[in-house]
Amino acid sequence: MNSLPEPVADRGGPAQPLLIARDLRKYFPLGGGARVHAVDGVSFSIAKGETLGIVGESGCGKSTLARLLMQLMPRDAGELILDGDPVGGPHGISVAAMRRQVQMVFQDSASSLNPRLPVQDSVAFGPRVHGRSRSAALEVARAALRQVHLDPALIGPRYPHELSGGQKQRVNIARALAIGPRMVVLDEAVSALDKSVQAQVLNLLVQLRRDLDLTYMFISHDLAVVRHISHRVLVMYLGQVMEVGPVAQVFAAPRHPYTRALLASRPSMDPARRTETLAISGDPPNPVDLPPGCRFAPRCPHAEAVCTAANPALAGGADHLAACLIQVPGSGHSQAPGLEAAA
């Protein structure tokens, strides 16, 4: 029944991460020599079949990171490696070859579909571009719509404005699936949906991941949603990675004060135990005038003079890392362990 295209075969084997990003950088020039440090030295890897969640507040660079991965804009620096192959450059795989394997779903489900096309044609567009005949591409589109639990006969001929928000977002997911990708980048893919519809789409994403062996990068500012769907989570602040680790560990024992502040800012859900004190005050600063040293220091309750001296690197143990001097033995921060602890 499933006539979705076969994904590109595994090349590197199970131990080779599906995607490695090394030191990605993107600055947007403003007038007068100022620059927005949208993504500033971000590195991570995503294993095959894994879901990496990306969280952080508005403007921290999540969407820019996704666009860099999808080659929707050139990066200033850094490397992308897809299943062992560098992407772009003289020895790498082409952008087209990469997009055959990695697809993206955007937040704004309405404006990412062509309003003048029946949605089945929007879904068939990818397979057409990848060389299928018109009728074969429509067949793939119908299979993709079935995969997201939409009736192709009923929904396929409709136009975007005739669909609900949840249905449109399913169509967007179907469009990504119609290429037969190995990985899907989901940028705030459920954020605009009502809670009851959001639950339906999250269930669908979990089911598709299992049925189609998909790898996800799941971007959201909603911590509860990220916790639900991710295996590992990466916390961004002002273009940089503050913390990365297995989702259960990061939520149960966050290592970066920013992660702790984010977690403490969630509404309580229990009217008998309302939030009484604020974890942090102020707004996230703007990514143009960056503070010296650690970017979180101006809002951090634990900041000391050393924190403004240099930007801390990710450190910690094993697979749970945080960019905080408190994690670094002998860093000079009064809460850091002594050097002998590291020996």
């Binding site: 928000g165 519809v197 639950a199 999250l202 979990v206 916790r227 800012s265 969630r266 009217p271 604020l278």
Partner: protein, 335 residues
């Protein structure tokens, strides 16, 4: 029992335009006591904003057919003249929005806008109005408030703009604040600051608040009472602890069960199947019945009348959860 600050009875709003009329509100009844915080919870299109706009008489009067009563501090809002409305808006009843730029004028400084509102409603000198503006900005926690008086809205961050809008809304000491998702667009760390701020100001100023949100967590942080809206009807109402802790209406229970907070990571979420009805063609019975696991034949036949499943609670359901099915309708809507 004190006289209510706000009382809405059987409010109907239908929008007439080119095609079939949109029945945005059907028989909405609400009551708010002075100094109380009522949250209206509901999903997109359920009628939350229309309810608030009706209270302020901000609906397009030629297209919107309005039925029922709205009484504010004992006065009939639907019978007010333009002049009376202008005197009421911003003075006794003020509103804040999700997007502060809808309330703030981009071409005037924050200080000038607050001072202008203060002078229009309360009179007094320019200097006194400006002093009041400064006081308000300080109260809402704008850092370096004296400097921010002369800032234009676009020069402020999202969180500060939201605070400035709150300062503007509260500058004339309203008895009732209408808040339409004022924290939805804010970052998590800023949202909780604004919620705590509103809670503190509410206690200090003793005003009533009707706070619209689709976020159950936000309601848990700020509400005394909660009204749950579905397809233009209030389907359940009661104290925040009871409605969130022991929901009576299957829709409320479904919303709570479909929160990701309530399941193990990666496990299937108990999502409510289906989607809300088309407001141009509401079913004759309960609008939620087509999606409801507990629906019985009666649910498709007639709209359930309000019943009182417990003291201080109302539900429009023939089979309220955890309560004996009860046919006896609430005669008058008691909060």
């Amino acid at each position: 029992m004190s006289a209510p600050l706000l009382e809405i009875a059987d409010l109907d709003v239908a929008f007439h335009g080119d095609g079939t009329p949109v029945q945005a509100l059907s028989g909405v009844s609400l009551r708010l006591d002075p100094g109380q915080v009522l949250c209206i919870i509901g999903e997109s299109g359920s009628g939350k904003s229309v309810t608030l706009r009706a209270m302020m008489r901000l609906l397009p009067e030629r297209r919107a057919r309005i039925g029922g009563q709205i009484s504010f501090a004992g006065r009939d809002v639907l019978a007010m003249t333009d002049r009376q409305l202008r005197a009421m808006r911003g003075r006794e009843m003020a509103m804040i929005f999700q997007e502060p730029m809808t309330a703030l004028d981009p071409v005037y400084t924050i200080g000038a806008q607050i001072a202008e509102t203060v002078r229009r409603h309360l009179g007094g000198t320019q200097a006194a109005a400006r002093a009041r503006a400064l006081d308000m900005l300080e109260r809402v926690g704008v850092p370096s408030a004296a400097r921010r008086l002369d800032a234009y809205p676009h020069e402020l961050s999202g969180g500060l703009r939201q605070r400035a809008m709150i300062a503007l809304a509260l500058s004339c000491g309203p008895q009732l604040l209408l808040a339409d998702e004022p924290t939805t667009a804010l970052d998590a760390t800023v949202q909780i600051q604004v919620l705590l701020l509103l809670r503190r100001l509410q206690a200090e100023l003793g005003m009533g608040i009707v706070f619209v949100t689709h976020d159950l967590g936000v309601a848990a942080e700020i509400a005394d009472r909660v009204a749950v809206m579905y397809a233009g009807r209030i389907v359940e109402e009661g104290s925040v602890a009871e409605v969130l802790g022991r929901p009576a209406h299957p829709y409320t229970a479904g919303l709570l069960a479909s929160s990701v907070e309530h399941v193990a990571p990666g496990a299937e979420i108990a999502a409510i199947p289906g989607a809300p009805p088309d407001l141009r063609a509401l079913p004759p019975g309960c609008s939620f019945a087509p999606r409801c696991r507990h629906a019985v034949a009666a649910c498709d036949a007639t709209v359930p009348p309000p019943v009182r499943p417990g003291p201080g609670r109302m539900a429009r359901c023939f089979t309220p959860l955890g309560f004996a099915p009860s046919g006896h309708a609430v005669e008058e809507h008691v909060a």
